[in-house]
Each structure stands twice: as structure tokens, then as C-alpha cells.
Amino acid sequence: MDFNDTPEEAAYREAARAWLKANAPKRAGAAGGGLADPADMEACRAWQRRKAEAGYACITWPKQWGGGGGAAWQSVIFGQEEARFETPANPFQIGLGMCVPTVMTVGNEADKERFVRPAVRGEEIWCQLFSEPAAGSDVAAVRTRASRDGEDWAIDGQKVWTSGAHYSDFGLLLARTDPDVPKHKGLTMFWIDMKAPGVEVRPIHQMSGASNFNEVYFTDLRVKDAQRVGAVGDGWKTSLVTLMNERLAIGGTGGAGHRTVLKLAADIATLAGSAVKDAALREKIADWFVQAEGLKYTRYRTLTALSRGQTPGPESSIGKVVSASLMQDMANAALELEDQFGIIADPALAPLGGAFQTALMNAPGLRIAGGTDEILRNIIAE
């Protein structure tokens, strides 16, 4: 158990820090807006490409596919150092965290050759097409139909809650190929071209005003059998590979944390004096700190296990259950401190640029996207 860098780690960290100082761009635009501005997206791609060229993208992946050929600890250290900079948003996370690893695990050689390198370099973006309107959190209830048409497949149906579909080049699709077997047995996975005819993407207008998610409609979309990922009927099993990667990929929630609350409190009055001296607030801050730190170190435990070649346990699933509610509670408490003034959402007028008002409106989505709290508790309990 050691938090200090070994000499080797320290050297890697120093090199990463120097490279970041020389190369990190100013942050361009917020991810929250769905990357609607092309300039924002270009900044994201440019940063990913620069990292890939320096071996800092997909650090643990083989060099032959554009990765860094490095170890898990290098990935952790680079992540820690990158977090100190205000780098662009990361629309590649779903592709590199879930879809492409699935292709790498169960896809054929041609697909790996074709897709891995451009994804690493930020040239192609992926989305994940599992959720459906009638299925919700129950992936096995997928109804989107893939029917044989000679050697090819024809796809009809609808997906929903597809993050980033509006800017994605490819999608990993779960479809029903056999309606006559028990529901989790008749599924098959495909990759699809999101720009192909027969694919229609409709952004979902969220309560926060942004549109990060989409509905995606398929009308007689033609797909070659070569686009199949894994065997026919193995879609459910394959989706578990993807979702396991997802749970590992979802990191902290970002946003305003306990430090920000302390900052807010320093300027605010309560009935009994300054909020920063208010024991009720201080105890809450301690509780939040312990949760946030607990999550951080739980993540380190997961990474330690991975770096030793072990499979992480259920502790790797607790991140989102804890962090989303934490964000909501913290935002609510911060607004309570602002008292009547807290209703103001204008970033120019609200304390700290309206950080907590924004967090309050984003928290519900975070508690739901990627599996509700309830579904994750089931996963943890099993």
C-alpha cells in the first residue's frame, strides 16, 4: 500500500507533466451543450490526435493499433496529471471505453484493423445503441429487429438515450435476430455506419436545456453480415462485455465539489453568523468529503487490481450510485445556503457562476443515465 511514486513512476509523471504544459490547449467549450459548435468538436479531435501522436491516448493499448503500449499505472498517472489542466471535452469516451474494446474482444481481424486506430486518433467517434423505449434498463427486452435478407441484414426499430449519436460516425447496435427464443437468447451485435441511409438521429431535449442524448430510428437499414460483432445469438453475452467496460469507464462526476461549497460558505450569512462556521454545514462537508475520497480510492483499488491482471470486484460499480446522489445533495445544500437568492440561475449573477444551479439540473440525468441507482444496486447485490 503505497501512494508515493516509485522512481520510475516519478519519472513518467514528470515527463507527462512537462508534455502537458507544452501541449495542453485551453479548454474549448463545455461538453454539457452536446458539442453543438463545430469549433468545440474540432478542438476535441485535435487534442485527441495530439495525445495519440505522443503515445498518451489509450496508453495501455498496443502500439500497432495506435495505443501507447504502456502499463495501467502509466494510464493512471497521465489521467491524474491531465486532470490538472482544463482540456477539451471527451466525446471519444464511449467509443474508446466501451465500443472499440468490444470490437477488440469479440470482433474479427478486419474490423480491428479498420476501426481501432482511427478511434484512438479521434478521427472517428462511436456511440452505443442498446437502450430502447420499451426496454428501459432491461437490455434483454430489445425489440429492434435485424432480419436476414440473403447474406445481409435489414434493420428496423428504435433506440433511445443514445449519448453522442448526433456526432458519431459509427454505432454498436444490439438487435433481435430471433424472436422465437427466450428473450436474452435471440440477440446479435452489429456495428453500423451512423451516416448510412435508414438511420435517423433525433436529439432529446433534456430538462437542463441541453441535448446530449438522442433517439435513433432505423428504417430498412442495410447491414452486411461482415458487420456482425460476435456470433449470431451471442448479442446478450457480448453486451455484458461492453457494459462491464462501461462501468470501469465511468469516472468521477466532475462539477462543483466540497471545496466549492466551502468557498461559497465563506461569503454567506446564516441566522447564527457565517456559514463557514455553521456546524450543520461542516458536518455535511465532512460526509461529502468522505464519500468523494472513498470513491477516488475505490477507483485506485480497481486500478491496482487491473494492473495486477486481476478482475475487479463489485466495488467498481459503486461510483455512479454514490456520486450522482452526492452531486444532487450538495447542490441542494448549496442552494439552501444561498437562501432566497438561490433561485437565480443566471451565471452572471448567481454565486460561483451558478455552478450549483447547473449541478442541480444535471444531477437527475446523472442518476438515471447508464443504469438507474436501482439497477446498479441490483448489480451490486448479485
Binding site: 428501459g136 450569512a269 446564516t270 441566522l271 437562501d339 432566497q340 443566471d346 449573477l349 437527475p364
Partner: protein, 371 residues
């Protein structure tokens, strides 16, 4: 002892619900939400005025219906349930109550009939900066009958004709009446968490202001008004919380996952039960507050604080967990969950947050125990 509404009050409640179901469907709330240039629903305001609701608790001699505080609570619950996008609370719970508490005969005679008729919209302008409202926060000043200073945020400040303003005069803090159509008033609409309601920044530069109540009584009067408003707002919150629970239950019974309605799963059932429990506790506290309000009981400060604390907790919990129960639908713009989520925050902050009311409650208990 009798701890329920009377038959007349129940009749009023069911009539109010029918009326609002027809006149204030979710589409009416969204029309205000989606249009930044619409601070409130004028048609609904007129229709509500025609029902006489603004004057429900205003004496008949001032053009009201002369009913009691409890009848106003009944109406508040239905307005809260419907998320009515009108300046009712500011006008009735705050300004009319302030006038009835502290107004001179002339002030009452001038303003109460107009409020009862729906001709005057009021707003209560006390806050100037983040944090709990304390003496130190009040910088607005009246000199020679002219008001100078800034109040932000002022709920319904954009729509209002008449403001009750907290300000200093000769070192003492008092309440003042200011007509907003007059000279020296600048208003700026604010972007707020719940755009189905309106709020503004009011800047005063020598606006004519007349005292409401005794000089030096400003903080005490504000507290008295807040106590009354807290009970009435608690009923609005209760109405919203009950509706949020209904929405969650209806969704849960109609939604299937893993082959059965999600409402059949204990995780969802127990969530609904938890919402129900908080709502019922809030309802019971609100009823006690209503009695204290209607009866003019000495218990009002503690009863109002308890009603507010319970109602803030219940509506916030119901709104956020109802949204959560809706899953992915819950956080879309087109599902109504976020309207309740926003309104829960709006009502939870507008008369001061629960945190401050908890402190008031315990201070009240200490006074009671010492007595």
C-alpha cells in the same frame, strides 16, 4: 377537536381542483416556461380573480370574501398541485397579508379591494444578496420619502404593480409601499431555476415610498408575514408533492421491465411509500399550521416553521424521486417531472430555505420550554 377540513372547505377544494384542471393544464404552465417574455399567465390570473380567490381571506368590507385562513390554504393546495403560473403567492400570501397586518385604514382601503379584484399584483422585496435575510443585508434606504437601493431577487417583480420593500430610514428598518409604475424604478427580468414563475431585479433611484407599519418594525413585520406565508406555501408544496407522487405511481404501474410493471418491484414500491410517508407528515404539520393561522394562535411561529420544514423536505423528495422513478423519460424536457423539480426548488427557497426555518423552529422551542 376536529382535525380535518369542513364539508364546505372540501367542496371548495373539489371545485378548485376542477376549475384548475380545466384552466391550468400542464400546457398552460409550459406556455409560461417556454416564453421568456411571459412572466405569468394573464388569462388564468383573470379567471382566478373572477373566482374571488385573491380576496378569499380579505374581509368583506375591503371587497374580499371574508373567509378564513384555512379556506386560503385549501386554494393554495390546489394552486400548488396545478403549478399555477401566476403571481398569487406574492400578491396574496405576502402583500395582502402585510397590508392586513400593518396597513393603515387608508392603505387597506386603497389596496385590498384592488388586490381582491385581481387588479393589483404585488411583490415582496426584501432580499439584496445571497444568504439568510438579516439586518445587515438591508442596504436600501428611504430619505425624504424616496427609496434608493437594489432588491434581488424579487419574485413576481416584473409583473407587480405594488411592492412591499424592506429598507432603512434614519437607521431604523421598516416596510414601505412602492408603486412600481412610478418614477425611479428600473426592473430587469432574471433567469431563474423555475421559468414557469417570474422574478426580477428591482433598482430604485428615488422612487416614492410610504411607510407600511411602524418605523423600526420592519424585521418583525417581515417575520410575521413570513410565518403566515410559510403556512400557505406549505399547502402549495403539499399539492405539488402529492401530484408528483401520483405521477410516479401512474408511471410505475404502466411501465414494464423484466416482464412486470416496475411498480411491482419493491425498490419502486418502497420509494413510493417513502414519498407517501413524507407527504403525510408534511400534511399533518401543515394542518396544524393552518389551524394556528386561522385561529391566530400564539403557536403560529413554531407551527409555521414546522409546516415549512416538513413541506420543503416533502416536495423536494417527492419531486426528485418521482423524476427518478420515470427513468430516462424523467429528465427530458417534454416530460412534466422537471416542472415539479423546478417548482420544488422555487417554493423551497422563496420564503427562505428550510435550513433557516429549522433554526427558527428550535429557537421557538427553546422559548416555549423556557416559558
Amino acid at each position: 377537536m376536529n382535525f380535518d377540513f369542513s364539508d364546505d372547505q372540501k367542496f371548495l377544494k373539489s371545485e378548485a381542483r376542477k376549475f384548475l384542471a380545466a384552466r391550468c393544464p400542464p400546457a398552460a404552465v409550459r406556455a409560461v416556461l417556454d416564453d421568456p417574455d411571459r412572466p405569468y399567465d394573464r388569462e388564468l390570473w383573470k379567471a382566478v380573480a373572477a373566482q374571488g380567490w385573491m380576496g378569499a381571506a380579505i374581509p368583506e368590507e375591503f371587497g374580499g370574501l371574508g373567509l378564513g385562513g384555512i379556506e386560503l390554504c385549501v386554494i393554495a393546495e390546489e394552486l400548488g398541485r396545478a403549478l399555477a403560473p401566476i403571481p398569487f403567492a406574492s400578491t396574496v400570501y405576502f402583500v395582502a397579508e402585510a397590508l392586513m397586518l400593518a396597513g393603515s385604514p387608508a392603505q387597506k382601503a386603497k389596496w385590498l379591494p384592488r388586490i381582491a379584484a385581481g387588479e393589483t399584483i404585488g411583490c415582496f422585496a426584501t432580499v439584496e444578496r445571497p444568504g439568510v435575510l438579516t439586518d445587515g443585508q438591508v442596504q436600501a434606504k428611504v430619505e425624504g420619502g424616496k427609496l434608493t437601493g437594489v432588491k434581488i431577487p424579487v419574485t413576481d417583480g416584473e409583473a407587480a404593480d405594488l411592492a412591499v420593500v424592506l429598507a432603512r430610514q434614519g437607521g431604523r428598518i421598516g416596510l414601505f409601499l412602492v408603486e412600481l409604475a412610478g418614477a425611479g424604478v428600473t426592473r430587469e427580468a432574471l433567469e431563474i431555476l423555475d421559468p414557469s414563475r417570474g422574478a426580477a431585479r428591482l433598482a430604485f433611484a428615488g422612487a416614492p415610498a410610504e411607510p407600511l407599519g411602524e418605523a423600526g418594525e420592519g424585521m418583525a413585520l417581515t417575520e410575521a408575514v413570513l410565518n403566515r406565508a410559510a403556512v400557505l406555501l406549505a399547502f402549495e408544496q403539499l399539492g405539488g408533492a402529492d401530484r408528483a407522487l401520483e405521477m410516479a405511481r401512474d408511471y410505475a404501474l404502466g411501465r414494464y421491465a423484466f416482464g412486470r410493471p416496475i411498480g411491482g418491484y419493491q425498490a419502486i414500491k418502497h420509494k413510493l411509500a417513502d414519498i407517501y410517508i413524507k407527504n403525510e407528515l408534511a400534511r399533518s404539520n401543515a394542518y396544524y399550521g393552518a389551524w394556528a393561522l386561522g385561529d391566530g394562535a400564539a403557536e403560529l411561529p413554531v407551527a409555521a416553521a414546522a409546516a415549512r420544514v416538513a413541506a420543503c423536505e416533502a416536495f423536494w423528495f417527492a419531486a426528485k424521486e418521482s423524476l427518478q422513478t420515470h427513468g430516462g423519460m424523467g429528465f427530458t424536457w417534454d416530460t412534466d417531472c422537471h416542472l415539479y423539480y423546478r417548482r420544488a426548488q422555487q417554493l423551497g427557497l422563496v420564503a427562505g430555505a428550510a435550513k433557516a426555518w429549522k433554526e427558527r423552529l428550535v429557537a421557538g422551542l427553546e422559548r416555549r420550554n423556557a416559558a
